[in-house]
Symmetry: C2
Subunit: 199 residues, 2 copies
Amino acid sequence: MPGIDKLPIEDALEDSPQTRSLLGVFEEDAAAISSYSQQLYQAMQRIYDAQNELSAATHLTSRLLKEYDNQRFPLGGDDEVMSATLQQFSKMIDEISSCHAILSTQLADAMMFPITQFKERDLKEILTLKEVFQIASSDHDLAMNRYSRLSKRRDVEKNGQGSVEDGVQQESSFFKLGSENLTAHWEEFLSNIGTSVQK
Amino acid sequence: MPGIDKLPIEDALEDSPQTRSLLGVFEEDAAAISSYSQQLYQAMQRIYDAQNELSAATHLTSRLLKEYDNQRFPLGGDDEVMSATLQQFSKMIDEISSCHAILSTQLADAMMFPITQFKERDLKEILTLKEVFQIASSDHDLAMNRYSRLSKRRDVEKNGQGSVEDGVQQESSFFKLGSENLTAHWEEFLSNIGTSVQK
């Protein structure tokens, strides 16, 4: 990443326009990664679904070929060549069907599981924290507003300070997540792909 | 086939109850083969569709992975490791996608084409001829009925004979088809499967 790789927690307390702007960049980045990951997830889900369907369809075909001997054909009951050929054919389709089933399981473990985890756990957490931060941020703005307008200083100071502390706490956790969790998860995801590609 | 393998054309002229009963057995057999083939056709169509979908889905995934470099990630623009890994990953998915596309073409040529031909050409012809025969047969029965009831022998003989000849012609072509075409087509279909299985 070019220069910036984390949001310093200590900046949250100060909450300067620069910090807010930098936060915006992190939010934009999270949104872009989220959208790209979602597309990738959908494409991978299509692969997985198609692989499952292929597994089911070959299994059905093999079963139908096996059932040939149980069909009531008034004229073809004793056709041994037909029967033997279809049995052999069905055995081959069965092997192909097994391969497809294994492939489905491998795709579930090695492709769908990591990307689903990344999407449902990491990206969702970031987006949820973003929302939480925005709520805390408007609470904070509201409190600051009240604080500057009201005349009874002592009372206001008491309430306002509570909200400010709340806001700062939310900001901190968002900043912390941006700098630590995401980088770690991306690196894990990357290293997983890296390992798979090298195999 | 047990004993009976064709309907003698000369029997059609006589049109005895035995011949009619034997014809019924052939019709039943044709219906059973038609129903079984239809199930097999649908299962194979499912395989083919799934294979096509797999080909399309892997192609899309590869394209998305390639597009990673063109995404606007405010913070991740210069991440060379990520970029290189995804390019390599996309290249592999691309190769898999090509394999799937080739498999699709092979399935179209070696599986869908023969069974579609068998279903649309041979089975459809038999079922159409069965209908044509049934129409001709009721015309024939009607004419025979008129022939035996009417008193003006000369007129009736003229019209009736025409219908009888028509009926006999239709029967002949159905019988001929049953004995020659179908056997030949089944043998061709079988030998195709036989050759595929031995490969």
